[in-house]
């Protein structure tokens, strides 16, 4: 099966081509079948590959399609690498991707035929790029997927292209990602310079020879991480992600929550040897991850747009994943990628169901009491909230607990802060839940009249994701339960090379139980508090003041970037354009030009039309030549 791995990305690419080229001729149902079918088929193949990878004695396999770039000793093949890590990501991408494609057939049904096909074409192209990203056997292949998903994100954020604000959000996403890509590219160049290769197996084999703590490894690790900061929306490159919510909601679920934004985590997990040998960079990653987790969680406390809350929540959860990577808990990071894909996709799709029922309204202050009309959406959304809050028994509990436990072993203060973030998460999620689904309906009568549960194409994916959000965590239960950690065992070949460089912090069982009990108790307190505060929410309409206002305005970071980066860049460009170019260089050039004109004006006087003068000049010339030839 593994030699057919190229089919996995190829099928969505085919879907993209058919829907893209045939967008004028295909009916909506056919478009939907092609778009969803190609991803479902890719999922089936991924499943078969996964089972093959799981068989004992499996060794990573590289499938080379053709020579992509070959210059001198540098060979960059167009090749896929199938191993435990890529196989797991294949499942997440095509699995969640399939559900979201099916969901979209209903959600996007009001688009025109052409718009509908364009949407599915972009979505298929995204899946293709994401699969290239995780399947690539070298950093350039990863970069191809990396920029490809950025492009699809750009196209889908700006999907409704007549709205200029959506375009601006799309541009912002692409440009911020490119800042990260600059780091990624320089990292690749350094890899080429250092190792003469970008192929994973060749690079990782040479890394231990460089020696732990070498400056080159630090530089490579940092540069690649800059790429990860852009793609996975970490401080300081996170502000594009909340704006990216301009895109259709299923896009937010797939690209801006479940898959693309986890590419940075994938990259660091893939390069774990490099990072394990660059402990200072790991510390930076842990700090940035934690800071992002807290900052985004604090902003989420005061947002009133249902998708914005979820967007900041995503940024915050990504922060937790980087925290995990930073403390060396690679398995925990990948585990959280997986569970987060389930419950965050669920929450986004649930919010889409709500927005659909509300006729496009996204402000939760104008919702309320929706559980009466939307029972399935309500119960699945609640499951999602419980999972992300970390209630024992649900998937989010296990993955988050693992991150917190490792953080405790790494640094106690960071643990306390991470726990604080987890509490904020529980609070803002249940604030969102209660304001939306409890209390009285606060919208217009017309909206109330139209409230309805969504059709099966929408509720079915919700139910599947809700089930996964519940059971998805049992593949990675903590040691104290006495059950094997299946995921850790499965991924162990990937992270084995890092083991010699990491310091394992083993917690006693009593301490582990204690930490679990503490976080659970506090999370329940938070939920009860949120319930008391928001279950009968009335919009008082008062303006926020003080810290609440700062949070509502997202710490004014956008304004800060505008003042520190955008305005100076524009000023510099204006200076180049008006002063250096026009007043400087061009004036000099034109001055020279005028000089030539003036000179030729004088020279023209020589041609005065008098034959006598010409003869005179000729004779003088001949004399001069004669003198030269005689004496020189």
């Amino acid at each position: 099966m593994i030699h057919l791995v190229w089919l996995v990305p190829f099928l969505p690419l085919l879907g993209f081509l058919i829907n893209g080229l045939g967008r004028r001729y295909l009916s909506k149902s056919l478009t939907g079948v092609i778009g969803s079918g190609s991803v479902v088929a890719a999922f089936v193949i991924s499943l078969l590959i996964f089972f093959e990878v799981r068989t004992p004695g499996f060794t990573p396999q590289v499938v080379t399609l053709f020579d992509f770039i070959s210059v001198g000793s540098l060979h960059i093949p167009f090749a896929f690498q199938v191993d435990q890590l890529s196989a797991l990501f294949l499942l997440i991408i095509t699995g969640v991707g399939s559900l979201i494609h099916i969901y979209s057939t209903s959600y996007m049904h009001e688009e025109s035929n052409e718009g509908f096909a364009r949407y599915f074409a972009y979505l298929n192209l995204f899946v293709f790029s994401m699969l290239i990203l995780v399947l690539g056997a070298n950093y350039v292949m990863m970069f191809i997927g990396w920029e490809g998903v950025g492009l699809c994100s750009y196209l889908l954020i700006g999907f409704w292209f007549k709205n200029i604000n959506y375009n601006k959000a799309a541009n912002k996403a692409f440009i911020m990602n490119r800042i990260g890509d600059l780091g990624f590219l320089l990292g690749i160049f350094l890899l080429i310079q250092q190792f003469g290769s970008v192929t994973f197996t060749e690079v990782f084999a040479q890394v231990p020879g460089v020696g732990s703590g070498s400056a080159v490894l630090f530089a490579i690790a940092m540069l690649l991480f800059i790429g990860a900061m852009g793609k996975s929306a970490q401080i300081p490159l996170y502000t594009w992600l909340p704006d990216a919510m301009a895109g259709p909601t299923p896009v937010s679920a797939l690209i801006h929550a479940a898959t693309m934004v986890t590419a940075g985590i994938y990259m660091v997990a893939r390069s774990n040897v490099i990072y394990s040998m660059a402990p200072h960079i790991q510390a930076i990653i842990a700090i940035i991850g934690l800071a992002t987790a807290l900052l985004a969680a604090s902003i989420a406390l005061k947002q009133n747009d249902i998708k914005k809350v979820l967007a900041y929540s995503t940024v915050s959860q990504l922060g937790y994943m980087f925290l995990a990577l930073g403390v060396g808990a690679y398995t925990a990071a990948v585990f959280h990628v997986m569970t987060h894909a389930f419950f965050k996709a669920l929450l986004f799709l649930g919010s889409g169901s709500v927005i659909h029922a509300m006729g496009g309204e996204q402000d939760i202050r104008k919702m309320g009491g929706l559980k009466k009309w939307m029972p399935v959406t309500n119960i699945t959304f609640l499951i999602g909230c419980l999972a992300i809050a970390g209630i024992p028994g649900l998937s989010g509990f296990f993955s988050k607990d693992e991150i917190l436990a490792h953080t405790f072993g790494y640094n106690k203060i960071m643990y306390a802060l991470a726990l604080l973030g987890a509490l904020m998460t529980a609070f803002y999620m249940f604030r969102l839940y209660y304001i939306t689904f409890s209390g009285k309906f606060r919208g217009t009568h017309e909206q109330e009249h139209h409230l309805h549960e969504s059709p099966a194409a929408i509720t079915l994916p919700l139910i599947v994701l809700a089930v996964l959000s519940v059971i998805g965590g049992y593949v990675g239960m903590p040691e104290v339960f006495g059950v094997p950690h299946f995921l850790a065992e499965y991924l162990s070949p990937i992270f084995a090379p890092s083991a010699p460089y990491l310091h394992a912090h083993h917690l006693s069982h009593a301490l582990e139980w204690g930490l679990m009990g503490l976080s659970t108790a506090l999370v329940i307190v938070m939920i009860v508090w949120a319930r008391g505060k928001f279950s009968n929410y009335q919009d008082a309409g008062t303006e926020n003041t003080g810290i609440a206002k700062v949070l509502e305005n997202k710490w004014y970071v956008d304004e800060l970037y505008d003042a520190v980066i955008v305005k100076p860049l524009m000023a510099l460009s204006g200076f180049f354009q008006n002063i250096v170019e026009k007043a400087g260089i061009d004036t000099v050039v034109n001055g020279v030009g005028r000089g030539v004109k003036w000179g030729s004006g004088r020279a023209r006087l020589l041609q005065n039309g008098q034959v006598g003068f010409y003869i005179f000049a000729m004779v003088i010339g001949m004399v001069v030549l004669l003198v030269i030839s005689l004496f020189l």
Partner: protein, 481 residues
């Protein structure tokens, strides 16, 4: 013989075209350009089979020791292909347009093609110089007679600028000619000559300035935005797609092999100027509201990178720059097609008056998006491979220069995406709502360009292999220190 045929076809048909009127000139020149394309493809095949068969030498001005010595190496073949592909694309695109005095217009276009092919094939310095001028002179006429309202002063500036550069080069050529033992202009004589380091040092500038103006490299670039803006679009396509490659070509074919020590001495200066140009032009591109000037500055930024890569002169940078010479030509012609269509339909080039075109001319919008993405070097488009290799080569030379130059990938995204937003996205106004989509000829040309963009983006191997031999020759000069 094929090489000579490549020059003769446009030269003879060009002269004939002067005598034709109306449709005749148009059809005849289109046929001529297709004939050249066929010959160029045959020559390409021949190059991989028996490269020496493409050399041709004939006594020309024996008194001066100048031979009509032409031939094709990897880079020459690549550039002849680019030229031979570009002209049919240009003629197809403007097939429905009517130009005054079409006989003269198309005749001059073909003469300039002949000159270009001559430049890319000449292995004799005097011949090279003659073709260099032959390629330029038709363009002066085309710009000034068919150009915009400021065409005459702008062309005058262009003329003085480039002509001054050419003269410096001529002085350099003649000086070296007198150094050769048997007074020869041939490339072999020039490259095997031992010129003292001191002489190389100042000779370098004679050639460098000539080529730097043509490319153009900062700060010799100010003729370019004006000329691109004022020229009729087909001429701008020739200028930006092919003619700027003359400067790059000149450095690779003549400057580096003939003056290796001079190039080594001034390597850092040339690279710094080029890198400054990349960032400087990118920043200015952000400020442009005129579509044509935006592309002009974007092109200056791209050329800056190519120029830097040439002077770095390692294997990756040299492979990258040659690949990019081809792809830059294809992509920028793609951009000009869009400009031409918009100007033809709406008579505007100020992007602030545009917007919302995507809803009314979806094909045009798709073409612009694809070409723009290739222009910002998105992977799997043809723009990526060259830029990747050039940046990587520059990085191996000096990581800090590469880091600065690489900022251009962000700036390019800024100005290209802003352009897309202003031109095709947003709500349409009353003018842009009337935009008619691509017509057959325009569509054919654009489709061909998109096909090349993706084919070479996914599978650049044929191009990389084609230029490999030239890279080996030029890289070898880098060791003569």
């Amino acid at each position: 013989m094929l090489t000579v045929l490549l020059i003769l076809i446009p030269l003879i048909t060009g002269l004939v075209t002067f005598g034709l009127k109306g449709q005749g000139a148009k059809v005849f020149s289109l046929l001529s350009s297709f004939a050249s394309l066929v010959v160029a493809i045959v020559a390409w095949q021949q190059f991989s089979a028996a490269p020496e068969s493409l050399q041709f030498s004939q006594s020309w001005i024996p008194q001066l020791g100048s031979q009509f010595n032409v031939g094709l190496d990897g880079m020459g073949t690549m550039l002849c292909l680019l030229t031979a592909i570009s002209f049919p694309l240009i003629f197809i695109t403007v097939y429905n347009r009517e130009y005054d005095r079409p006989g003269a217009f198309y005749g001059l276009m073909l003469l300039s093609q002949a000159g270009l092919i001559g430049v890319f094939t000449a292995y004799d310095a005097l011949l090279f110089y003659v073709f260099w001028e032959l390629a330029l002179i038709p363009v002066y006429f085309l710009c000034s007679m068919w150009g915009g309202e400021r065409a005459v002063p702008v062309t005058f500036k262009f003329f003085v600028y480039t002509f001054a550069g050419s003269l410096l080069m001529l002085v350099g050529i003649i000086y070296i000619y007198f150094q050769t033992p048997d007074h020869s202009f041939s490339w072999t004589a020039f490259t095997s000559l031992q010129i003292s380091a001191q002489e190389q040092s100042w000779l370098f500038w004679l050639f460098f300035v000539a080529f730097a103006i043509k490319m153009p490299v900062f700060p010799f670039h100010t003729w370019q935005p004006d000329t691109y803006e004022q020229s009729p679009t087909p001429v701008t396509m020739v200028l930006s797609g092919i003619m700027v490659k003359m400067g790059l070509f000149g450095v690779i074919r003549w400057l580096l092999p003939v003056l290796p020590q001079g190039a080594y001495m001034w390597q850092e200066v040339a690279i710094v100027l080029s890198v400054i140009g990349i960032i400087y032009a990118s920043c200015i591109a952000i400020m442009q509201s005129d579509f044509k000037r935006l592309i002009a500055y974007s092109s200056i930024a791209h050329i800056g990178l190519m120029s830097a890569a040439i002077f770095v002169n390692n294997e990756q940078s040299m492979q990258g720059v040659q690949v990019q010479m081809f792809n830059h030509g294809i992509n920028i012609i793609g951009l000009w097609i869009v400009v031409e269509v918009i100007q033809n339909r709406l008579r505007i080039k100020d992007m602030r008056e545009m917007g919302g075109i995507a809803a009314y001319a979806p094909k045009l919008a798709i073409v612009l998006v694809v070409v723009s993405l290739a222009n910002i070097a998105l992977p799997l488009t043809n723009g990526f491979i060259g830029e990747f290799l050039m940046f990587s080569g520059l990085f191996q030379y000096n990581p800090w220069f590469a880091a600065v130059a690489c900022v251009a990938i962000i700036l390019a995204a800024v100005y290209m995406l802003n352009m897309l937003q202003k031109v095709i996205f947003g709500e349409a106004n009353t003018l842009t709502a009337s935009t008619a989509d691509l017509k057959t000829g325009e569509l054919l040309a654009a489709a061909a360009i998109i096909a090349v963009i993706f084919f070479l983006g996914v599978y650049p191997k044929p191009l990389l292999e084609l230029v490999q031999s030239t890279t080996a020759i030029v890289n070898a000069t880098a060791w003569v220190k």
